[in-house]
Amino acid sequence: MSDPILSIRDLTVEIPTRHGILRPVDSVSYDIAAGEILGVVGESGAGKSMAGNAVIGLLNPPAHIAQGEIRLKGQRIDQLTGNAMRRLRGKEIGMVFQDPLTSLNPLLQIGDQLTETMLAHLDISRDEAQKRAIAALEEVGIPGAADRVDSYPHEFSGGMRQRVVIALALCAEPSLIIADEPTTALDVSVQAQIIALLKRLCRDRGTAVMLITHDMGVIAETADRVAVMYAGKLAELGPVRDVLTEPRHPYTKGLMGSTPLASKGKARLHQIPGAMPQLDALPDGCAFHPRCPRAEGKCRANPAPTLAAHDNRAACWFPLDPKGGA
């Protein structure tokens, strides 16, 4: 296997507060290869977005990377200075936000937003940038792109705006895209189109994708591998087929059980009892043990084992049997 595009090792993000230090991301490691889509799932507050923000260098102070390293194409990027990091953003790492209604500057024409991005990273003329802007809009499926390039964001529908956002994220041909809940704010009917678009464009270009979502359905349709996060830690990591059909972490199983798609045909949805703990009130031992049906003394006493990047297994003392036990 060739070198991964993105390689995260032991990444820990800390936020100092008056109640002590919070760790929204705690010792997380994973890789994403070229052309691969890694789905990152978990409940809100599990640290999925925070990890994405750490990679692109947009953590809001006082949140900061306390430990670990991030490598892009083999080079460390977690210690880059402001300006060097800025050159990577957009050029090497693109990002798609959740809400297309708020991610576009309402006072600038979309064409201007596209050309300014290209001119910031590529050595091309303004005319060339304008041509490429139209081409980029055509590629994401905006009808009449040559005319719409002068339009303002409010003149587009939500789905169309998310297409524009994707065009913006991809216009400087980055090698990694971080898509943070790209479909959550959209109508259900549009979600599939946007996901398909993102998937097609990244396959064509060999772009690595970190797809952050809480929607198991999206993961099942899109991702190659999946990373499940719980309370800042990686709970399970593996190829999407394995994780979905034979989850090994009790939390993943619970998560599957509470998704309508995975439990098709069953009489009712499973629910995981309780709620994910707040970061300032984590239980001792494995963070999941209060809600876990399999928890024993060891789980209450010892933190769960930390997953290494290539482990195809769960961060659990008593993982479920791969042959579909329990």
Binding site: I56, L58, G82, R86, R87, L88, R89, G90, K91, G94, M95, F97, D99, T102, S103, L104, N105, P106, L107, L108, E116, T117, A120, H121, Y152, H154, E155, V165, L168, A169, A172
Partner: protein, 326 residues
Amino acid sequence: MLAFVIQRVAQSALVLLIVGLVAFSMFRFVGDPIDNMLGQERTQADIERLRTTLGLDQPFPVQYYKFLANAAQGNFGVSYRQGRPVSDILMERAPATLELAAVSGFLAISIGIGLGVFTAIRRDGFAANAIMSISLIGVSLPTFLIGILLIYLFSVELGWLPSFGRGDTVQLGGWSTGFLTKSGLLALILPSITLGLYQMTLIMRLVRSEMLEVLRQDYIRFARARGLRERTVNFRHALKNTLVPVITVTGLQLGSIIAFAIITETVFQWPGVGLLFINAIQFVDIPVMAAYLMLISVMFVGINLIVDLLYFTIDPRLRVDRTKAH
């Protein structure tokens, strides 16, 4: 667009009618105009004659209409105190106030916006914090104290600048200007700083808080995530969005400058309409008060109208929404 303009103009006209009614009521009911205009030695015939000349024997709506018609032609009657037509007195005084207000407004807007942007971008810097602390003192410091302080420092102690009056003026047609003589310009310095300082702090604090709000928006994060230069993000993306709400308030502040000129003119014995108004209140010179009220209302309403229209041209969203709505 046209509908919007018509609606705004109609609203402005309504406000002016109401203010006119207030001014007229003052004119008609506060004190007895007959008493005020005729001396001790008067006959019943004098009173009757004056009553007819002034139209006081006519029904209220007719009187109101005549008052408005006269006001529209710049005829506000005769000052009780000076015995001259109010319009003549106002015309003499207006250039002094307008020149002072123009210089102060320019200072307030340019420095206010500049410092506001600076303190927002460097929000944690030492200079920004120092400016913010000083500005709070500036807001608490009544305008007249600032004036006295400046007079004490630059006129009494240092003897550099004049402490009162306009200096020499040059007549240009009907307009007396202080811009063309050295003493006129020197005399402008202290009053314009006094008058502009409060508005400047307000504009600065407003720009800062709006800018901080805008910098939190998704589209700013997205602009950063696209790797745009910090300068581009701050000035092209953030400042433009900041200015939309700032323009409204700034416009209103410009109106206040003319009203606050009353205070500055009193401190510096500046021969403008504000000083005239204060004297009118002290001596209950109702025609002058009414005329001042009408004059300043026309200015305020005019400024409001211009601000609304400006808003309209800056924010592309309004262009669509408004015309659709009406």
